[in-house]
């Protein structure tokens, strides 16, 4: 995997009018001063609650909306001055359904091929390859309207891949899918990467998804990237394993605290009368060594648990809110509608094309 840069964002910022009225001077800063690089071949996820600015960022990077300030180079071209060059080199799977409901699935793939300058023969061959590899055989001649949610989503991915782009953007790819369809979709995305080294850039508000599949997680909140690392490192540095040790008596628990404290620089404290707890990044090694050290001091550990952290713990450590709470707050605050509303399939997931409710003025 080379280190060649495929996305370079510099000071990318998007403000929307707070009210859809023209005279309103109040603005909402949906994305603030985004600076980041993505190397060719990376699999990066924007993780954050609804309204964090993930989709707005993606919509700027894919030339759908112009930034208020700042810019980005995507596959070697500037999104502001060379949007057509960017479009020709990226694949995009939006939050909604890419296929037109009145079209047949295969027809949409062929149209997409024509849009990207493929010959009819090349488009046919490519469409049939994608239909087979994305398990759409048998549904290809149905109209998009007749497809199930999972089939629609796989067609969306096929449409995004039709012209074999070196960079694929996916906006909430698995929202609205059942767990099986979600796993199936991810299998396809991961296969694609291992076979072709396609760079994948996605947004998600599913913790497990970012944790399990993304190699690099950019945590977004209120228009800003507040952390950017691999999931294991984010968890180790910002959250840590929660270790709990149980004892037969309160005095054992009290005597155990200084013993365990010698092994770690994280604070060890009493949890209940007979248990003590510590949150540490190296919990998997700390736990056995703590048990051994306590044994040596003739303090018997009766129960021991180590709970590894989730990205939600990371988000909590960073913002003081859990991802779920943050999402709910933002959902209720969202008012301005800047684009088409989502269809039924995605109704549980409001567009975060809409700006977050935090005003730029209030933040300063």
């Amino acid at each position: 995997m080379s280190t060649e840069t495929i996305i370079e964002a510099r000071g990318l910022t998007k403000r929307f009018p707070d009210q859809p009225k023209k005279n309103s001077k109040k603005v909402v800063e949906a994305v603030s001063n985004l600076d980041f690089h993505v190397g060719r071949g990376e699999l990066v996820a924007f993780l954050g609650p609804n309204g964090a600015g993930k989709s707005t960022s993606l919509r700027m990077l894919t030339t759908l909306i112009p930034p208020t300030s700042g810019t980005a180079r995507v596959v070697g071209h500037d999104i502001l001055t060379q949007p057509a060059d960017v479009r020709a080199r990226i694949g995009y799977v939006g939050q909604l359904t890419s296929g037109s409901f009145s079209q047949r699935a295969r027809d949409e793939l062929l149209s997409q091929g024509a849009f990207y300058g493929m010959t009819r023969a090349a488009a046919k061959q490519r469409a049939d390859e994608l239909i087979e590899s994305l398990d759409l055989t048998g549904f290809a001649l149905r109209s998009v309207q007749q497809l199930s949610g999972g089939q629609k989503r796989r067609l969306d991915v096929a449409l995004g891949l039709m012209h074999s782009p070196p960079l694929l953007f996916l906006d909430e790819p698995s929202t609205g899918l059942d767990p099986q369809s979600r796993a199936n979709l991810w299998k396809h995305i991961l296969d694609l990467r291992t076979q072709h080294g396609t760079t994948v850039f996605l947004t998600t508000h599913y913790l497990e998804e970012a944790d399990r599949y993304a190699e690099r997680v950019m945590v977004m909140d209120r228009g800003r990237v507040i952390a950017d690392d691999t999931a294991p490192r984010l968890k180790a540095e910002l959250a840590g394993d929660v270790l709990t040790l149980g004892f037969a008596t309160t005095s054992d628990a009290e005597r155990a605290i200084p013993v365990v404290q010698q092994l770690t620089d994280r604070s060890v404290r009493a949890d209940t009368e007979t248990t003590i707890t510590v949150t540490a990044p190296d919990g998997d090694t700390l736990l056995p060594s703590a048990v051994r050290a306590l044994d040596a001091q003739k303090i018997t550990v009766t129960r021991a648990t180590g709970v590894p952290p989730t990205l939600d713990d990371v988000f909590l450590a960073l913002t003081g809110r859990t991802l779920r709470d943050a999402g709910e707050t933002h959902e209720s605050e969202e008012t301005a509608q800047t684009d088409a509303s989502p269809d039924d399939e995605n109704s549980e997931q409001p567009n975060d094309h809409t700006p977050t409710a935090t005003t730029a003025g209030a933040r300063r």
């Binding site: 057509a84 020709a88 939006g94 359904t97 037109s100 079209q103 027809d107 300058g117 590899s133 088409a340």
Partner: protein, 263 residues
């Protein structure tokens, strides 16, 4: 199963003519696959032909053929007014379900997304107009083939204009379907009545006649009557073409502008 990859680093460039053709052929696919949708959307004009024409015949006391010669050209314009005037709702649906967004990320000239759609309207208009003419024929409607061909061409230009305006309305109203239909219905019926399509405006009050004078639909209807009667040199034909061309030009310009702003 492997997916072949040949990264297109000689990536495609936007080309308005080729992109328009690609958008046009894509739009025609559902129509070509299911041509019965065209016949189904003819229900409204057929009701006017079947239930309104007899009333006209009874009222005017003129022979059936003569009444149809007056009424059928109006029905052809009605097809455009009701069918093409509503076509923006298709785009609105695609904006709401997501496929419009996909085409905006594709390397297509923005103008092609509007012009290709507007040109597609010609196909249903031509097919539907021919069906109406062929239905009226056995009842005494005389077909002047030269006039019919020019009349269909005029309808096509008028349809491209009205279709563009309908798409513009969709792009402007975004996800507010009620607004699209509210505006569309508010405009369609005055345009219909003030075009003398259903009843002659000869006995109407002066203010109605004044409005009809600036109603392009009125001029297109009068031109169609002249053309379908074989009077190719009638001045109404000139006014009809002028109205249709101006409408098409305005529609395409503001439509393309709205498409450029679309996100």
């Amino acid at each position: 199963m492997t997916i072949q990859t040949n990264h297109h680093d000689t990536a495609v460039r936007e080309n308005a003519a080729r992109d328009t053709w690609n958008v046009l052929t894509r739009e025609l696919k559902p129509v070509a696959r299911d041509p019965f949708t065209l016949i189904f959307s003819l229900v409204q004009p057929l009701i006017f032909l079947g239930l309104f024409a007899p009333l006209l015949i009874g009222q005017s006391g003129m022979p059936i053929g003569e009444t149809l010669q007056w009424f059928v050209p109006g029905v052809l314009v009605m097809i455009v007014l009701f069918g093409t005037g509503a076509t923006g709702s298709n785009l609105q649906y695609e904006m709401m379900t997501g496929s419009h967004e996909r085409t905006l990320v594709a390397p297509l000239a923005r103008s092609s997304l509007l012009v290709g759609r507007a040109l597609k309207e010609i196909a249903p208009i031509a097919v539907q107009a021919l069906i109406i003419v062929l239905i009226a024929w056995p009842f005494g409607f005389a077909i002047h083939w030269g006039g019919l061909v020019i009349g269909l061409a005029l309808l096509a230009v008028f349809g491209v204009g009205l279709g563009s305006l309908s798409y513009t309305l969709a792009l402007g109203t975004k996800d507010r379907e009620w607004l699209f239909w509210g505006v569309q219905q508010t405009l369609i019926f005055p345009l219909l009545i003030l075009s003398g399509m259903l009843l002659p405006l000869d006995d109407s009050p002066a203010w109605m006649q004044a409005i009809a004078t600036v109603n392009p639909v009125n001029w297109v209807v009068q031109a169609e009557r002249a053309l379908l009667a074989g009077n190719l040199g009638d001045t109404a034909v000139l006014w009809g073409w002028t109205s249709a061309i101006v409408l098409a030009a305005i529609g395409l310009v503001i439509g393309v502008r709205a498409m450029r702003k679309s996100s």
